[in-house]
């Protein structure tokens, strides 16, 4: 089980809004696949999957605000 955590982004930015999930719960992902798009201030950026596996649970959905360090989703590794 691997936790997908919102990493440190840069000084002064401590949260982001989930703008788009590229996968649904239950779908298979490869390592480095774009997993989720986040928006902060005037920038959108993608978070890649840290490992191959199944996206088993999403905790923050599109429109939700997530803080740095919080768990966005869980990936069950093969």
């Amino acid at each position: 089980m691997t936790k997908v955590v919102l990493p440190e982004l840069s000084e002064g930015i401590d949260k982001a809004i989930v703008s788009y999930w590229y996968f649904k719960e239950g779908e298979k992902v490869n390592e480095k696949d774009d997993l989720v798009e986040l928006t902060t201030d005037k920038a959108t950026f993608n978070l890649p999957s840290p490992c191959p596996g199944t996206l088993s649970e999403i905790f923050f959905h599109e429109g939700d605000t997530v803080n740095v360090g919080e768990i966005l989703a869980i990936i069950e590794e093969y």
Partner: protein, 219 residues
């Protein structure tokens, strides 16, 4: 570090958007290159992620009648307008070779515009939480970027000609009730977009400390 300059001239937004993606792929695959695309667009409204519909003030029919297209794109920010008389600068920079800091990158884009304005004797301002460059309470430059694998795209728009401001009345720029201004409006004289471009490239070079090679593309 060097960056390649692409001057696309006056170009349809959709075509320039596609071109950004092509250059993005090239930057991704040919490290450590970065690129800067400069262009003007035909009248177009673009909406960033999570736009509010009410921020476009006129109907689809009216927009069609006026030949203004609308695109939902992957940059951040709400709604903005582009038209001839604005310079759009799209830096396709691999931040792995600069600094992996989104906040800093946005501030550096503002710095580029502030430096440019100072050459014309104008004081450009930043306001915390209101990314962009302002002259007093009026906005002269809008910024909205996207980042994939630490490579940036989209970028900034600077209003140069005063006539391009008219169409801003059809939107609430960035979702706010603000007034836009332009270089011509502030200076009360004619300014040619072509005459600002070289200064802008020079400012990019200074702020990001990069050398560059010029390349003109006819698209």
């Amino acid at each position: 570090m060097e960056f390649e300059i692409f001057d696309s001239g006056l170009v349809d937004f959709k075509r320039a958007w596609q071109f950004q993606k092509e250059v993005f792929e090239a930057v991704k695959n040919v490290n450590p290159k970065s690129a800067l695309i400069l262009c003007q667009h035909y009248p177009v409204i673009t909406q960033g992620r999570r736009p509010q519909k009410e921020n476009i003030r006129i109907s689809e029919d009216e927009l069609k009648k006026r030949g203004i297209e609308v695109y939902a794109i992957e940059r951040a920010g709400d709604v903005t307008y582009h038209g001839p008389g604005q310079i759009n600068a799209y830096p396709i920079f691999n931040l792995a070779f600069f600094k992996k800091d989104i906040h800093l990158f946005l501030r550096q884009l503002e710095e580029v515009v502030i430096d440019l304005l100072s050459d014309f004797g104008i004081k450009g301002l930043r306001y915390a939480g209101l990314t962009g460059v302002w002259i007093g309470r009026k906005k002269i430059a809008s910024i909205g970027i996207a980042i994939r694998n630490w490579i940036t795209f989209h970028g900034l728009s600077i209003n140069i000609k005063k006539n391009d401001l008219d169409n801003f009345r059809f939107i609430r720029p960035c979702g706010m009730d603000i007034e836009m201004t332009s270089l011509e409006t502030e200076l009360e004289r004619d300014i040619e977009v072509e005459n600002v471009k070289e200064n802008l490239i020079y400012k990019f070079r200074n702020v990001f400390r990069v050398s560059y090679e010029a390349r003109r593309v006819d698209r």
